[in-house]
């Protein structure tokens, strides 16, 4: 997993290896056809630290223990089949263009899709340079056909050799705080009402009255896994709160404890996780921005800096990684 120039990436593509790519749109569109999928983003974590680069491509090489890799695009009508289409002993990588209907459909619906979590599904939400927000659309690419999508997700379903398995896991530095319990009367990427310790009120007023910092996320405890929903903005006109992932009805959220030193805390959590079988990782652009990761290293976990992360479902402000190991 490394940042390569276009010629190096092209050579790898032409070797026939399945690849997961990330890069600026202009670079991706200049690559030869082959067994790869990609998403747009010009921000990366590399062995040398966080960086932005519009000339190079980040490459995750799929290991030789993958026997077959099939590429398939999904729209809002068939994304619900994404888990069902996975190989029985396999893993599936998904890249979804941000700020689109397919992003919303996947994020809102994934936990209810057939065979949810029965295939190790991992991936990320493609984005753009932050200076181009509102003027450029995030895109994903099917490298086998050269097709570019702004409204579909691209998936590489991979079959593993017998005796091997893929393990998808996360590193989330945010812990739920000890403050109010927040639940929402409706699921979605924005909320106007909230139950605060069981009492319904305006979420916008709760946020403004308490001068809540929008940088730390909401955190829910999923049987021991801390799942974040990041704040996008306060909609002052409509008195709503917007998120980068949906809150779900009947899930209890708390405001996160702030993380004082992301890099130091990250180092503590690495522990034994830096596996030799690491095949993929990505981290969130909000961690990159708020923790000022440009030029700072996060160990072996290199990959695109993303507009959302997927570990079975959409996550925010979380590092997702996958390792493949022998049983």
């Amino acid at each position: 997993m490394k940042l390569l120039d276009s010629a190096q990436a092209s050579a790898l593509i032409q070797s026939g290896k399945p690849l997961l790519l990330a890069g600026d749109e202009a670079v991706l569109l200049g690559l030869p056809r082959g067994n790869w999928i990609a998403g747009t983003i010009p921000y990366f974590m590399t062995a040398e630290g966080g960086c932005q680069n519009r000339e190079k491509v980040f490459v995750h090489e799929i290991p030789d223990v993958v026997l077959r890799a099939h590429i398939r695009a999904y729209n809002t009508s068939n994304i619900s089949r994404v888990y069902s289409h996975g190989f029985d002993n396999g893993m599936s990588a998904v890249i979804v263009p941000a700020l689109t209907d397919i992003h919303q459909t996947f994020a809102n619906g994934a936990p209810q899709f057939p065979d949810f979590a029965l295939v190790p599904l991992f991936g990320w939400i493609a984005g753009i340079h932050l200076s181009e927000l509102g003027s450029t659309a995030p895109k994903v690419v099917d490298g086998s056909t050269g097709e570019v999508f702004t409204d579909q997700a691209i998936v590489m379903h991979m079959e593993l050799r017998p005796g091997y398995y893929a393990n998808v896991d996360i590193i989330n530095l945010f812990e739920p705080g000890t403050g109010d319990q927040l639940t929402f009367p409706a699921s979605g990427f924005s909320a106007d009402r909230v139950f605060v310790n069981g009492v319904e009120q305006s979420f916008y007023e709760y946020m403004t009255k308490n001068e809540i910092d929008l940088r730390p996320p909401l955190v829910a405890d999923y049987c021991g896994a801390h799942v974040n929903v990041s704040f996008q903005s306060l909609d002052h006109e409509n008195k709503r709160v917007n998120f980068y992932a949906p809150v779900f009805e009947n899930v209890v959220y708390r405001l996160a404890e702030p993380v004082a030193d992301y890099v130091a805390e990250f180092g503590k959590q690495l522990g034994s996780r830096a596996s030799s079988g690491l095949v993929f990782s990505c981290n969130c652009i909000l961690n990159y921005l708020y923790a000022e990761l440009e030029g700072k290293q996060t160990g072996a976990f290199a990959g695109p800096i993303t507009f959302g992360e997927v570990a079975f479902q959409l996550l925010n402000q979380t590092l997702v990684y996958v390792d493949v190991a022998k049983l």
């Binding site: 398995y165 896991d169 996360i170 999923y222 049987c223 896994a225 009947n250 049983l327």
Partner: protein, 82 residues
């Protein structure tokens, strides 16, 4: 490790789905799926039974994965079934 899933009573899966049998989980797929199933299971006996079936399917699917095996062994131990 081989688990004989057919010998595990349905009530075990239902109790895990309801959270009356619980441990500190290790396997991410289980944590995320179980969190959703718990929401469904609390809706009533039929929903709890269905959630228990889905849970058994999940464990059977990942039966060879060490993290899932350790979670299942811990649960069986907690339920007095190991």
């Amino acid at each position: 490790m081989t688990v004989e899933f057919e010998k595990i009573p349905n009530s075990f899966w239902v109790n895990v789905a309801l959270g009356t049998v619980d441990v500190a989980y290790e396997f991410l797929a289980l944590k995320i799926a179980l969190s959703r199933l718990r929401g469904h299971a609390k809706a009533g006996p039929a929903e709890a039974s269905k959630a228990g079936e889905e849970l058994r399917t999940l464990f059977a699917k990942y039966a060879q994965i060490p993290q899932a095996q350790r979670d299942l062994q811990n649960l069986l131990g907690k339920a007095g079934l190991s």
